[in-house]
Amino acid sequence: MNKKRINLLQSRYDYQKIEKIFFYIRYLTFFLIFIFIIIFILVNLTNISYKKEIDGLYSKKIELIKELNNYINEEAKINIFQNKYQAFSEFLNEDARFLPYYYLLTSSLKSATPEPTLVSFKINKEKYTEFTLSFSNFEQIINFFNFIEDENFLDKFENINLDGFSSTESKTELTFKGKFISLKNEK
């Protein structure tokens, strides 16, 4: 069917819509200009502050380098010393430090009544230890079990377990395995 009339109201509505869009485009231009100015100022201010900070650090670096250049020999000696001392400390940590831990164990055992006999003692650099104690009778073992559950004995170890038990007519031996808590001043 052919159109014979135009809906003027509808067309007017379309024009207004289009006009509105262009109106917003004009507004957007001012908004974008405003945003551009704000961004431009902020970017420049930030860049200036970055430059200031970089220049400050750079001049401080140059100043320190110049100052240290007066002590080149001393600095080289310190580097050599620190290199060796670092290696020394690293290597010394590989030591099992037998004696301080041996004395720690024997002095702890002295407080046990009656004191057991230390048959063997073994320690490695990680402070893992294994030791065997000998007892002359069963009653002594029972007393010792009370002793090793005491805080004063247990606080020497990170962990400690009864690992073995052997008995003959004359004596009974208990083997313990565990790890010592590191001593601060071992040497």
């Binding site: 231009t29 974008l32 551009f36 860049n47 970055y50 010393f81 001392y85 670092q86 099992a96």
Partner: protein, 232 residues
């Protein structure tokens, strides 16, 4: 009618073309500025971080220099002692000398030793030694082995058994270490307690220099002939 509408659109666009173009250009410029700003900021932050690290390192070196000077620390002596304890290259004669020295000082007689080649680390030499002596001399040995041989010696695994009467077997480790590249070295922060620790070590190992200087003074007063071909 259609034509009229198009003309209207055309006029509208023509009137606003400047705004449209400005919007497009401004949007592109703002996006471009923001992208380059973030890139530049990232670059600047990295640069600042790097410079801060460099300045901190230099300050640390300056502070170390100040502390070494303040504590009037004899660094040359310390280097000498450390070079005795840990030579730059392995010196097998000094190992034999260290074992002999230890034997002499502690009374624990080292009867034999074997080099353990299982340790592939070039900075370490592992020796298994056998020795005889009383429990007291063995304990003397355990007390002294770290420095008394004028070499740093450690033992990473030690055991003692009451059933052992006089023979003991111990694994000992000797060390050597050359200078590493200065660039790979970290500069540790030091304080006054560091010097306390070092001075304790130097006090313990001060004998090394004393004994070495005594050994270096050779007795030249042996009888000499004027004529090497004379019988007298």
């Amino acid at each position: 009618m259609k034509n009229k509408i198009f003309v209207y659109y055309y006029i509208l666009i023509k009137e606003n073309i400047l705004y449209i173009l400005t919007n497009i250009i401004l949007t592109i410029v703002i996006i471009f500025i923001l992208i380059s700003f973030f890139e530049k900021s990232l670059e600047n932050n990295n640069k600042i971080e790097q410079l801060k690290n460099e300045v901190n390192l230099l300050n640390l070196k300056k502070n170390n220099l100040r502390l070494f000077a303040k504590n009037s620390f004899d660094i040359e002596k310390a280097i000498k002692i450390l070079n005795y304890l840990i030579p730059n290259e392995e010196d097998y004669f000094s190992i034999l000398y260290a074992l002999e020295n230890l034997s002499k000082k502690t009374g624990f007689q080292i009867t034999s030793y074997a080099v353990n080649l299982s340790d592939k680390n070039p900075n370490r030499l592992r020796l298994s030694i056998n020795g005889v002596g009383s429990i007291d001399t063995f304990f003397n040995f355990l007390k002294e082995y770290n420095f008394s041989g004028k070499r740093l010696i450690t033992s990473d695994n030690l055991s003692i058994n009451a059933k052992q009467k006089s023979g003991y077997k111990i694994d000992l480790i000797f060390y050597n270490k050359g200078l590493t590249d200065q660039k790979n070295l970290s500069t540790p922060a030091i304080d006054d307690s560091f010097f306390k620790k070092i001075n304790e070590l130097l006090a313990k190992s001060d004998f090394i220099l004393k004994e070495s200087s005594e050994e270096a003074i050779l007795d030249n007063n042996y009888p000499r002939k004027e004529n090497p071909f004379s019988i007298e």
